[in-house]
């Protein structure tokens, strides 16, 4: 049990059981430099590209092919050339033993528009 107030309080200590002081070197770390931020972020794993969102519905009940497990619970945004006034977000999750893909169309805020 680390007692962080140990240095300030006047406690009776038992011989042999004193809490050791933290080594100074652990508090002397240099702040991380900006060269880490210059690197590109890690690439998106390729299996996340296999989304079912582009699947057209086979029937009016909205049946599509079974999604891969890896794409579940990931939020996708539609890749279309700008400017768009409406953007599509897609998400697939499992409900009990069936899969549900929801595609939500949202308006894109126009520049300079202050309305919510």
């Amino acid at each position: 049990m680390n007692n962080q107030y140990g240095d300030d309080h006047d406690e009776a200590t038992v011989l042999g059981f004193e809490v050791p002081k933290s080594p100074d070197s652990s508090y002397n770390n240099v702040y991380p430099g900006t060269e880490d931020e210059a690197r590109d972020p890690p690439i998106v794993p390729p299996h996340l590209q296999h989304t079912v969102l582009s699947c057209p519905s086979r029937d009016s009940a909205g049946s599509i092919s079974t999604p891969h497990n890896v794409i579940l619970n990931h939020l996708y945004i539609e890749n279309r050339e700008a400017p768009r006034s409406v953007v599509a977000l897609g998400f697939t999750h499992r409900f009990r033993s069936k899969f549900v893909t929801v595609v939500l169309y949202k308006p894109v805020q126009r520049r300079g528009n202050t309305s919510a």
Binding site: A61, G62, S63, I64, S65, V86, R96, V103, L104
Partner: protein
């Protein structure tokens, strides 16, 4: 039904037995069965412009979409073809009061408020009465879902799973859009191999009190079946759809032979031409409006059997039910063999009204 010729009517006991078994099936199965193995639901944020929404409905080929409120993180309604019909009529009423800019940005939320106002569902200070979303959960019985759809006179209701974790975080998941056709499909699938348990299914539909029929000579008390000619204006057609509270009207020639059918959902074809507001509903005929939705220009007089699903008065009920299980088919026009004279219409809600024994 009394139509002069002696067509034997289905026996009361056959009807009662069938109704009882179907009711038992619907009460013991849940809405979860309506979900496909892998399903897709398309929803709109309620702050999206209506113009974009109808264009997407047309693009995706869907007649209805649930509405999502991002701030409340929940489903707050649906947008249907009827909304589009009402908007067009409203735009027609106000003429050019709405500028092009306003049309571009007229959101679904704003339209829904206008709609409440039009329906007199606002109190004196202009605040809307709180409306609760009509929906069902995945554990609700199929019978409850069917009754809810039927009694609220809607075509679909969203299936929403509401869960609260720790009682504090309330989560609402949109799962599926349930319709009567999906429920009918469940019924047909279940009873397909035991058709003898539902004796009424073998009866021809002319022997069952089902659907709307053209009254025969001498039956003046019967409500007439609404029909239109191809050169009727679109505004007259839309008014008829709204006033008669029907979802479609057969289009017939001078001999009452079936040519085509105009449905409320056909209105989304107008969204193909983004300038829907500039279309004059009085000047466009329904024939022209239907041309908009067709890829190939089929000449006037060529019958499009795909659009217009027909059946005969002698067809058995189970055949009619199988065909109505297709979500794209919401009604069948009953025609006389050969001449295609319209004798009646049987819709999805007619079948449920009969099977569940509702008024």
């Amino acid at each position: 039904m009394g139509n002069g010729e002696a067509i034997p009517q289905a026996s009361e006991s056959d009807i009662e037995i069938s109704r009882h078994r179907i009711s038992a099936f619907l009460s013991t199965h849940t809405a979860y069965e309506l979900l496909p193995e892998s399903g897709k639901v398309i929803a709109f944020d309620i702050n999206m412009p209506v113009k974009q929404a109808f264009h997407i409905l047309y693009e995706q080929g869907i007649p209805v979409a649930p509405l999502w409120n991002s701030y409340k993180s929940q489903c707050v309604g649906v947008l249907t073809a009827l909304d589009f019909v009402l908007i067009l009529r409203e735009l027609g009423n106000h003429g050019s009061n709405l500028t092009e800019e306003e049309l571009e940005t007229h959101t679904i939320a704003a339209w829904k408020e206008v709609k409440l106002h039009l329906n007199g569902q606002m109190d004196d200070s202009g605040r809307p009465y709180p409306r609760h979303l009509i929906h069902s959960g995945p554990c609700d019985s199929l019978k409850d879902v069917a009754l809810k759809i039927f009694q609220n006179k809607v075509s679909t209701i969203p299936i929403i799973h509401s869960s609260s974790r720790d009682g504090s975080y309330f989560q609402s998941q949109l799962l599926h859009l349930a319709s009567l056709s999906g429920i009918l499909k469940c019924i047909c699938r279940h009873f397909r191999h035991s058709s003898s348990s539902l004796p009424i299914l073998q009866q021809p539909i002319c022997a069952i009190p089902l659907g709307t029929w053209v009254p025969k000579i001498g039956e003046s008390s019967r409500r007439p079946l609404a029909m239109l000619r191809p050169n009727t204006s679109l505004s007259a057609a839309l008014s008829l759809l709204v006033q008669a509270e029907v979802s479609s009207v057969p289009i017939v020639d001078d001999n009452d032979s079936l040519l085509d059918i105009y449905s409320r959902s056909d209105i989304t074809d107008l969204a193909k031409d983004k300038a829907y507001a500039r279309i004059s509903l009085d000047e466009m005929s329904i024939h022209e409006a239907l041309q908009l939705g067709q890829d190939a220009n089929s000449p006037y007089g060529v019958f499009n059997g795909q659009r217009c699903q027909m059946c005969l008065p002698s067809d058995p009920l189970h055949k009619v039910m199988e065909r109505l299980s297709n979500p794209r088919v919401r009604r069948l026009v009953i025609v006389e063999a050969g001449s295609k004279r319209v004798e009646g219409i049987v819709s999805l809600s007619d079948v449920f009204r009969f099977l569940l024994g509702l008024a």
